[in-house]
Amino acid sequence: MCMASALDIVRAGRPPRISFVDFPLGHTVGKMFDRAGQLDIVRRGLLGLETMTHAEQADMQPVRWADTGEWKAEEWRKGGAGGKDERKPRDGSPQYQTELDRILAGEG
């Protein structure tokens, strides 16, 4: 089972089963600290392993990020024409979340 928030990108890879969650990238299996919502999404995704009957089937999970589609317009403003390339430089050294992580990994 392949979960997906970027449905077109995941579909291009042609996994055997897709469970689509129409949330912004970075929230493929749920909203932050929404334990009940996360559980529902993961449960439904896993259930597809049992219920899907043919290759490349995609289940559209019945979830909404917000009452309006404004978040999608914002995604386009940030990530479409005229937006900013948010990728970090292609640095070949480990990129720790915190400086303490670097020390604890023995790279201090």
Binding site: M3, I9, A12, V29, I41, A55, G83, Y96, Q97, D101
Partner: protein, 161 residues
């Protein structure tokens, strides 16, 4: 409401920035499809997140086609899961709640409830922002396949970021 067309979005962004088009991967053959041979409640589930998750104490990912993987024990305290991914702009919420992209708490609950047989001992991560399709094919996928094989899983649950 239609899903966002991320491939078109990226194409238009790159055009506006004067970059060459991004070379998205397109599979040219249909996937294999295998039905489970046992109930989900008896299955051992392997997990992969492409979010660049690592456990504090492990080496973080780098941003230059890092094709390595990390094994994240399923008993790992959730707040010990940190992230390094070339698109850090998608990480603010996962860095506060890793479950947004690596659903370790939900999986532990579903295991405890008997909805699935069990989660494999280790969950796996990789850093999904790799530009070399050749290296994904020749390095990352074989490493992940071997890692899943060693975990003796019945089905894989993949979570792209």
């Amino acid at each position: 409401m239609q899903p966002i067309e991320y491939m078109r979005m990226t194409r238009e962004l790159y055009e506006s920035l004067g970059h060459p088009p991004y070379g998205w991967y397109h599979a040219d053959t249909p996937p294999a499809f295998t039905r489970l041979n046992k109930p989900l409640s008896e299955c051992r589930i392997g997990v992969l997140s492409t979010s660049g998750a690592y456990v504090v104490g492990q080496r973080a990912y780098h941003y230059k086609d890092d094709c390595s993987i990390r094994a994240i024990p399923k008993t790992t305290p959730t707040q010990s899961i940190h992230f390094s991914h070339i698109t850090e702009n998608y990480l603010p919420d996962p860095r506060r709640d890793p479950n947004c992209v690596l659903p370790i708490d939900a999986l532990r609950t579903l295991e405890a409830d008997g909805f699935i047989g069990e989660v494999a001992d280790d969950l796996f991560s990789c850093m999904g922002g790799i530009y070399s399709q050749r290296r994904v094919s020749e390095e990352l996928i074989p490493a992940l396949s071997e890692a899943f094989r060693q975990q003796n899983i019945d089905a894989a649950f993949l979570v792209p970021m």
